[in-house]
Amino acid sequence: MFLQQLINGIAQGSLFALIAISFSLVWGLLRMVNFAMGELYMLGAYAGWLVVMHVTPNLGVALFAGFMVGWIVGWLIEKVAFKAMRGVPHIASLVCTIGFSFFLKETASTLFGAETKSMPSYYSQTAFTIAEANISWLQVLMVAVAIIMMVLLQLLFYRTKVGLAVRAVALDYRTASLMGMKVDRVTSLAFSLSGALVGFVGVLAAIYYNAVNAGMGFVPAIKGFTAAVFGGITSIPGAILGGYLLGAIENLSVKFMSSGYRDFVSFLILIIFLLFRPNGILGKKTKL
């Protein structure tokens, strides 16, 4: 039982970790939160669902569709909520992302209907069993895909010129522009990438929970944000650690209290960290 919950937690933690990375990326570059992150996740899920229902059952194509939809809508949000509002107080951008959140959610429920769509199962057979705990192929796949994504991101940020520019712009955009870096383009790229990541996660989640609906993004986005704060929002390794820890803690809590309290545990962690350790586990102190 304990082991089973831990395994479920790690699988779910992969989703949280990827969402948390997206929050970290946006926070690192803009010192802002994109409140429409959950809706990018939802749109990614719908994109994946449309692909498997109407185009091809190929999971790779579905994941790619989620990635691309997240990229495009993320790019659009950056242009409207951040670039067009540069120079006005930050709160305007934040409110604008909340606006996007509602707009996208309502658009989806108008287009696809309010009812939950069911997503076909993939790889739900048991891959192996350890001490009565079953690990499905899907869980293996989720963890593997998340790790591959993280490694690719790490390579992008630490081994490429674009990655160097993203890190430099995040640290000091004025000085970065003196080096010839195109701050707007770098910011837009990283923002789109964060959208693409959550869109991708949305597809994984749709398969994991076998469900897609317009409101599905709200809770995971807050969980991802919690994971980011938990691990330290300024740090991508922190976001990953936070994601997995949150997944594990949440699922293990079921052992001690009713599963209805599961979300409560995450929010408790969020509040405790915001109050007592706002820099998270791995985060550095930042000047705001």
């Binding site: 520019a165 080096m179 010839g180 195109k182 701050v183």
Partner: protein, 241 residues
């Protein structure tokens, strides 16, 4: 034709008139010092030329072409590298990554490697610390890194804003030796320096700024002998002349 020709440059910060029509020329290979009290507009002048600050009016031409109010990322591509005040090292990037960031505009990898080697030859101290995070270096090392990073784009003109600021006195001479050496390599230098004595000793030509205007300009040797300049800028610390 001057390498850099600035005419009647005017800058406003809101209602404040920070530059009130400044003209300045740099010839190929020059070493020019810009001195003046705090708030005289020296940093604003460099920033307006390098595109960090938006100018209201005037002209700026580099090799005969206007670069007036171009974006800073475009100006560094045309060949002017601005080493900002306070060094502005990317604190969480390693020394080597800071240098690579400086070479961002150069796509030829072999050339970047050459420039990196040149930086390490010029500043062996940086070679020893290449893997260290920028933020862990001492003030003097950070200044060396800032200058080296500015040189990584292989510019024609290097702007230096207060290279001696916040640096241990024993290192200041060392930094200035490096700057003289860089000028000898053929780089044209425009330098702001609070230590007017030192600036007028190492540079060849000097401009003096006061409240947004250039009040004097002459060869440094001449400025050093000028009574008004001596009283205003060299007086208290003028023991070396």
């Amino acid at each position: 034709m001057a390498l850099l020709d600035v005419k009647d440059l005017v800058v406003h910060y809101g209602k404040i008139n920070a530059l009130k029509g400044v003209s300045l020329r740099l010839e190929q290979g020059d070493f020019v010092a810009l001195i003046g009290a705090n708030g005289a507009g020296k940093t604003t002048l460099l920033c307006a030329i390098s595109g960090v600050v938006h100018a209201t009016s005037g002209t700026v031409s580099f090799r005969g072409k206007s670069i007036f109010n171009h974006a800073s990322e475009a100006i560094v591509r045309s060949g002017i590298s601005h080493v900002p005040e306070g060094r502005k090292i990317f604190s969480e990037l390693s020394v080597e990554e800071n240098l690579y960031a400086g070479a961002y505009i150069i796509s030829d990898k072999a050339r970047v490697k050459d420039l990196l080697e040149r930086s390490y030859q010029l500043f062996p101290r940086l070679a020893e610390r290449r893997k260290k995070e920028g933020g862990t270096l001492s003030g003097g090392e950070q200044q060396m890194l800032a200058i080296a990073r500015g040189l990584m784009s292989d510019p024609d003109i290097l702007f230096l804003d207060e290279p001696s600021l916040g640096i241990a006195p024993i290192l200041v001479d060392k930094i200035f030796e490096f700057i003289v050496q860089i000028n000898a390599m053929g780089k044209t230098i425009l330098m702001i320096e609070q230590n007017a004595n030192l600036a007028l000793q190492v540079a060849r030509y000097g401009y003096v700024m006061e409240t947004g205007k250039i009040t004097h300009e002459a060869a440094c040797a001449e400025l050093r002998e000028d009574d008004a300049i001596r009283r205003a800028y060299l007086g208290v610390t003028g023991a070396t002349t």
